[in-house]
């Protein structure tokens, strides 16, 4: 009888250091609070490799330096209504506060730029979007926001923000739905 009781107790005693070790390991948040090393204010962004189709440029607009050559077309940094070119672009994206050169780089027209001035290729335009839409950017990076094509357990193709949201008018356009299902025959007969 005594042996039967002692067996499990002995096992628990033997496992105790291991069990308590497990418990101590679990809350990483608490460890973070204890550690006193200050976190850097701006963490360097982890490099993100994204398989995505090329950005959806309108026909004939890229490269921008085809037209925007400094000696032919000197840069005018004054905010204004465009009339000679790009007058088809209607900005509906915080247009009260922003205009072209807040995202497009005045120095290198084939690039965008971040608020810090760091140039960004059009293929990485999501970094520009992510400056304001941080929460969406985070969800997109982990695969929760946006469409994915490919393998659920392997290589997948992402879409850039601009494939679904026009950067100048980002609201998602409404769509015509596919046809409604046919009602069951009994239902049709009674209507």
């Amino acid at each position: 009888m005594g042996k039967h009781v002692l067996g499990p107790i002995g096992l628990i005693v033997a496992l105790a250091p291991w069990l308590s070790g497990c418990v101590r390991d679990t809350p990483p948040a608490a460890v973070g609070l204890v550690a006193s090393a200050p976190a850097p204010a701006v963490r360097p962004e982890a490099p993100l490799r994204v398989e995505a189709p090329p950005p959806p440029f309108s026909d004939g607009v890229f490269p921008c330096t085809e037209c925007h050559v400094e000696k032919d077309l000197p840069t005018n940094k004054t905010r204004r209504q465009l009339v000679d070119a790009h007058d088809d672009i209607v900005l509906k994206h915080d247009e009260e506060h922003r205009w072209c050169l807040d995202c497009h780089d005045a120095g290198n027209r084939d690039r965008l730029h971040l608020a810090s001035g760091e140039p960004v290729a059009f293929e990485e335009s999501y970094r520009v979007c992510g400056q304001c839409h941080g929460e969406k950017y985070r969800d997109w990076r982990v695969g929760v926001h946006g469409r994915r094509i490919g393998q659920w357990n392997g290589a997948k193709e992402y879409l850039l923000c601009v494939h679904c949201h026009s950067p100048h008018q980002p609201r998602f356009k409404s769509l015509a739905p596919e046809p409604a299902p046919l009602p069951p025959r009994m239902r049709a007969a009674h209507e």
Binding site: H145, R148, Q151
Partner: protein
Amino acid sequence: MDDKPASVTRRKFATCAAAAAAGWVLTACGPRRLHDVSTDRLRQLIGEMEREYTAKYGTQVTVSDAGPMPGVVFGYALDISRCIGCRRCVYACTEENNQSRDPQVHWIRVLQMDKEHGVDFSHADAYYDSDQVPQENHFYVPVQCQQCQNAPCTKVCPTGATWTEKDGIVVIDYDWCIGCRCCMAACPYGARHFNWTTPGLPKAELNPSMHYLGNRPRPRGVVEKCTFCIQRVRAGRYPACVEVCPVGARKFGNLLDPDSEIRYIIEHKRVMVLKEELNTMPKFFYFYGT
């Protein structure tokens, strides 16, 4: 009067024994459910299926017998704050899974609901027919098989023709289904569909990439339903509805992989299941991505 029970004669015993042996032999050699047969026999049956469908539809058909992957349980999440009710998923599903076009069989029903009432099936309309979606003051909840962990449909099947695979997909053996439709009555989500007539599937619209538990052509008089596109997901691909969704509202992955999209959603977003109170424990989740 003879009080003693009649003794079993040698002749009677021999007859009964022979009958029992014959019965056992007949049951053992007769047809079996696809999940009971040996691997060799399954390959043989699948070869027969491939030949039959290739001849019938005039294109080279492949029928996969891929089994569940170890360490994988599939889960699905749908972002109700994103879905615009465009029904692209409904028709992509139909094409991928060889559903009957006439009479129409859809595995996905998109329900239009009032924002005023929230997720409420008594205020849902599957037959909405607007020019543009989304309509103001409405939201959309697509419903398909919820792949329940505690599935009522598999419990009521009198022939054992439907069961849950190890990767969590609820499947149907179309050769073993007798069409009693008990499972349809048991399913609280209306996710199972019956072939009242021989499915009308034009030869040109056949998807020749099939799985024996999924999108192979169904005969008349059997029940069918969503299998998470078993022919695609067991080959590592996303289901067809996930890839077609223009707003990226549909998410899919391995519930046992802590780094998967689906686990991120369950751990970080507001998540719900339909008709939670029924304790069906769906592996199909609805969430609010915003």
